[in-house]
Symmetry: C2
Subunit: 368 residues, 2 copies
DNA sequence: CTGAAAGCGCTTACAG
DNA sequence: CTGAAAGCGCTTACAG
């Protein structure tokens, strides 16, 4: 037991941290209001427009003046007021990302990746979360996105109801990611039908003849495209009579909905030997339902998911799935928005489709 | 095989959706600029301040006038410009939520829950994602949060470096969630030490004597508190000689870091019979490392996680863990912020601590 | 190279 | 009950 309590480098690091005191001094300024351009100008003995010019590096300012103003700015820690500036310039320098549900691992990852590119390119981003609520979505679009942001990236959120026509009529440059493909709005999307086709075909090639599909929320175009791909693969291999689609009882693509859907499938024999499931989280939930009744993956039933989220690799067995190139989706979306903002591209022509990829892991097996 | 392709209600629902056409008419207005209050006033034959009064329901306006103005507003779909309004009133009506990393399931869930309460109470929210980047965090705070938002809820993000003193010096009402407890800033936090204590004690009561701890990112106070709780439980039961802490090689509390940490533990025998892991995702990753080398949970080693995220219930075996009351955390945080905004509470007195709860599931077992 | 003027779209006193 | 005036903090022409 003596060797057991050994302190390795990690433990040492730990102790160091435990002793760290993060107190910090109070701020230098105790002013209750942030300084204004007027104050900087007075302090520097110049006019506000001179300050404005040095802040924005516009106009021509004498080096000495510039220097003096810069020092004051530094000293009082002046920052131009974005609201006032955008009131004049009619732009905020911000881009907005609106997601259907920030709680979804794939949507939050796309959002985060878009932020990554945006920051790398010197833009700032605001996140809007519609929380699956159509009314909220609409409000966000109308009241905030339109007024606060120069451009908008809408992730997975425009599919139902009246938001699409609204967006079309709106003047704010918008790119749709993972939404209803729409010929009049710039968009980047995955070839969902292809992904579903690849998943299903993989199962067919493994010898499976009875393949069911647990779909995503069918009010969303991406979910409908995935059932189309599944169906087409079946048809191409003469298996259309075996088609069987279970759609979940909720609009979340989460563990629970996959779990419940699989329970439904189990309740109505015969059981298929393989199931293609429209999302990885759902697939993991579905597997849970299987394991609960003593069925093993892939021994008793093969499973293929969709998305390739982190959890897929760490499930046991690791989940065979369809990888969405999220990083590329994000980069393309941002680039498209930049082009829209600079007017160098026509939205109608800006339709990007990215290809998914089959990742074979341990949840699928060949049957005889 | 005939019964196999049966069409149940779900399938029917699916077909319906597949046939749906979401075309939508173009918007009624093709104006390139949103209407201004000036335009509404002219159309209604009144002054802008009259329009302002009917929009804000201030002052006293003749019923007939109000009606006429309201109709114009409706007709041209006028919406007051938030930027202009906030320029005058010095407030935006928005609250900001700043999270360390929106990609984390627990942080995004807290954010989403806070949004839920905020919307229920008629507020709108903006999300800021620091992406684990201290510089970005600082920029967000200084340039955006301070100017765009009336109040701020900071989730898990203030712990290191210079942001804490900045926040103290700042005038924006702020509540800290899951951060370094700080006596001068309002905060709501979990009793992390207690949670860790409960987890460890549970293992001890099950007969485990050699219990290791895989910690979270120790630059974060919450992680340090959890090792403290683990340590105290050991000490209280005379097991302090068996203390063993492995800290991850990254600042993400993700699957991979738990996986890597467990591999480290495996590489340096003797193996403990139980491991308390600072986050559920890490626990699932850790289990993966175990299973890979043929060790079973809970037969060979018991695991307890922390957080009780969705994935915990759907892991196999279901993960024993410490539940964080996220919904309550969110509600308390928002309420605190409201009180701060209305000035009815003193930040120094506003320190809320919530209690965690042990959830026993299948990943822990009694040993002899 | 620098400053006086005008205005972005609102709201808040204040007259009438 | 309604409107003229002033101003929130900036930037953009335009003089000098």
């Amino acid at each position: 037991m003596s060797g057991f309590a050994l302190v390795d480098i990690h433990e040492r690091k730990c102790y160091d941290w435990l002793n760290v005191q993060l107190e910090g001094r109070a701020g230098d300024l105790l002013s209750s209001k942030p300084p204004t351009m007027r104050e900087v100008a007075d302090l520097a003995g110049v006019s506000v427009q001179t300050v404005s010019h040095v802040v924005n590096e516009t106009g021509s300012i004498a080096a000495a003046t510039r220097e003096r103003v810069a020092q004051i700015i530094e000293r009082v820690n002046y920052r131009p007021n974005l609201i006032a500036r955008s009131m004049r310039t009619r732009e905020t320098g911000l881009i907005g990302i609106l997601v259907l549900d920030i709680t979804s691992p794939v949507l939050s990852l796309i959002a985060s990746e878009v932020e990554g590119v945006a920051y790398a390119r010197g833009h700032k981003v605001l996140l809007y979360d519609a929380r699956h609520d159509a009314r909220l979505l609409r409000e966000l679009l109308e009241q905030f996105a339109e007024q606060l942001v120069d451009g908008l990236i809408v992730v997975n959120a425009i599919d139902r109801g009246s938001t699409l026509p609204w967006l079309k009529a709106s003047t704010i440059p918008t790119v749709l990611v993972d939404c209803l493909p729409n010929p009049t709005l710039a968009s980047v999307a995955m070839d969902n039908e292809r992904g579903a086709y690849l998943a299903t075909e993989h199962l067919i090639e493994l010898g499976h003849g009875r393949i069911a599909h647990i779909s995503g929320d069918l009010t969303l175009e991406v979910a409908r495209q995935r059932v189309l791909g599944y169906r087409r693969a079946l048809t191409d291999h003469g298996l259309q009579a075996n088609e069987r689609v279970i759609s979940p009882d909720s609009d979340r693509w989460d563990y629970r909905s996959g779990y419940v859907a699989m329970q439904e499938l189990l309740a109505r024999p015969p059981m298929p030997s393989a199931v293609f499931i429209a999302a990885d989280q759902m697939a993991i939930g579905a597997q849970h339902a299987l394991v609960e009744v003593g069925l093993k993956v892939p021994d008793d039933v093969s499973l293929v998911g969709f998305d390739d989220i982190d959890a897929a690799s760490y499930a046991w067995p690791p989940l065979t799935t369809i990888r969405q190139p999220l990083t590329e989706i994000a980069a393309r979306a941002f680039d498209l928005l930049s082009e829209l903002l600079s007017g160098t591209v026509d939205p109608v022509k800006a339709q990007i489709t990215l290809q998914p990829e089959l990742v074979v892991r341990g949840s699928t097996r060949r049957i005889s």
